[in-house]
Symmetry: C2
Subunit: 361 residues, 2 copies
């Protein structure tokens, strides 16, 4: 097991990365402060891992909320079900909330913990690759609104994150690929050697080789932790983690939450950002090809949905959190391994990418 410390002063916390971590009760219980524990999970994960976590908590008063599985349930209404359970059982301010599931469960569980009695302790057990490399680091929590993704939320840090590679054995192929999309992102924005490592080791990741997965998770979390430690509240460099996300969020919102996985939308969005970076004169044609090829090998979509035309994209991108006074700002690439801070983009170039990249005939 590796332990990666996320350095945020008083809010620092460890990420445990390794195999069969759910069998180690102590990893979990050392971070719990009182007898009251709420587990938030979903209908897919509960039959697989809930009992294992409950077995670790036999000395505690444990309640469970099992939500339906999917981004379309990441709403204020479903969040309120968590509050209902906490209040029905009179949970106090020192009760702990464990989020057992993918990114949606982590975001909702974290936001519920942030808001319940203005903040209770929170532990993340991410069960998808995406959640292990992305939503488990950085403290971003929240829910969606019909008019925009992740528009309601809080920055809130967990007590610890338990990233168990063993749980990835039950992850379906599509979810695994979606997680790899975010892994590739870390190579693209700040570590060219890791991007090259991914080109060499992609098949091992797709084969769920535990060593390769642990390396990918550790490199991704370390990169993200360094960025977040430098800029917790996203004043500048943290925004680079959003490479591909402004396009990606537009795809998720525009197509309806749940039709594309987050990582799939980010894969497409990153290819669009790469295309726009080429039009800016920063990436070469060969760079863009290399990026698209790696996403394709990871069995990810790389072309925007035909149903969203350029106007609709721009409309959806106008509510992005990076924007200033309504002007669209994007993270682009200076090279493979170096992202820009958010930059305003000439509308003609953006339209050229939206109409020109990945559009057939």
């Amino acid at each position: 097991m590796k332990t990666l410390q996320v350095d945020l002063g008083q809010r620092s916390y460890p990420i445990y990365i390794g195999s069969r971590l759910l069998e180690q009760a102590d990893l979990l219980t050392r971070h719990i402060r009182s007898k009251q524990v709420l587990i938030v999970t979903n209908e897919t994960v509960a039959p697989l891992y809930l009992q294992q976590v409950l077995d670790n908590l036999s000395d505690f008063v444990v309640e469970t909320v099992i939500l339906p599985d999917g981004e379309q349930y990441k709403t204020l209404d479903y969040l309120n079900r968590i509050f209902d359970t906490l209040l029905t059982h009179k949970f106090s301010r020192n009760a702990s909330l464990i989020a057992l599931g993918g990114g949606v469960i982590g975001d909702m569980g974290g936001f519920a913990a942030a808001c319940y009695q203005r903040g209770i302790p929170f532990i993340q057990i991410p069960t998808t690759l995406l959640a292990q490399v992305d939503s488990s680091v950085g403290g971003k929590t929240g829910v969606n609104h019909p008019l925009g993704k992740n528009m309601i939320g809080a920055f809130y840090q967990p007590q610890c994150v338990i990233a168990d590679m063993s749980v990835l054995s039950t992850l379906d192929d599509r979810q695994l690929s979606a997680g790899i999309a975010e892994v590739i992102k870390y190579g693209l924005i700040r570590e060219p050697d890791f991007f090259a490592w991914l080109e060499d080791n992609l098949e091992s990741l797709l084969d769920r080789d535990v060593e390769a997965l642990a390396h990918a998770v550790e490199r991704s979390c370390r990169n993200k932790a360094e960025v977040v430690a430098a800029d917790e509240k996203e004043a500048d460099v943290r925004a680079t983690l959003n490479l591909g996300h402004t396009f990606g969020h537009a795809i998720e919102t525009g197509m309806g939450y749940g039709s594309y996985l987050h990582g799939e939308a980010v894969a497409i969005g990153t290819c669009q950002a790469a295309d726009l970076s080429r039009r800016k004169g920063w990436l070469t044609d060969a760079d863009v090809e290399r990026i698209i090829r790696l996403f394709k090998r990871a069995r990810l979509p790389v072309e925007p949905p035909a149903a969203l035309d350029a106007n609709r994209f721009i409309e959806l991108m106008a509510v992005d959190k990076k924007n200033v006074d309504g002007n669209i700002r994007l993270i682009l690439l200076k090279s493979i391994g170096e992202a820009t801070l958010p930059v305003g983009v000439e509308k003609a170039l953006l339209v050229a990418t939206l109409n020109g990249y990945g559009r057939k005939g």
Copy 2:
């Protein structure tokens, strides 16, 4: 005008206290960062003061949310109306939210600002005495849940607070008295001289003498600011600000939000806490009489509602945020001017107060 600085490191902010402050546009605009401004207010305050604030913001893009007036609307559903407006108008992360109203508007506006895009700048213009002395200092924001008051929220600091004594001229008598209940609390928990000043100057406050009101607001805010600066997240001494509130919240929840004003419930709850402090051997009979007399002179209720018996009180008090593992803890008084930290209470004594204090026959 007096300026009181609330000292919270990077989150420090000024409270402006004086007359005719709404006429000074610069007090407001110096704290706004971008063109986008949302004003959240209610149906009572809007006809009185909204235009005055709008006149100060002629250079900005201003949207307004007007909520119905009352504690019963402090819910997630009404909070969502604020998000709807922010998103419909594509407000960015550097947009400002102005809460123009009493405690309910301050709590909801502040919580909306805390959550929208994980936090946007927020300015408080409290229009009731209660909000000026209580909810404008300390960063507590949030909404109610059917099972408990203020159970969903965040700690979130404003950019500034504009406490204009002139707006108190239109406050109805019952609201004025409710505010005085919280003012009396500051004397009781930590400043015996201020309690004595209130005994001498209560009629001036009831007559809305601007000088007396400004003094009361300034002393209250200074006391609260000192407590909050010492303990922002309510690890210990901040809990003393909750004198009377555990009983009071039970009254508000048990009788239905809106039947008692918050300050009215706190007045009753503080008398109950004083009675329990006497049973603990800390206050004398004369102390308790002195406390009850001042609340009565302020035209506040001092007896618990007959509809809530001791069992129902205890049931309602069991969800209080100060509790640990479900055990009720209360703030009591060692003397007039000195509060305890949260203490566990022998159930027999609590029942004696609930059955014995203020119950006829």
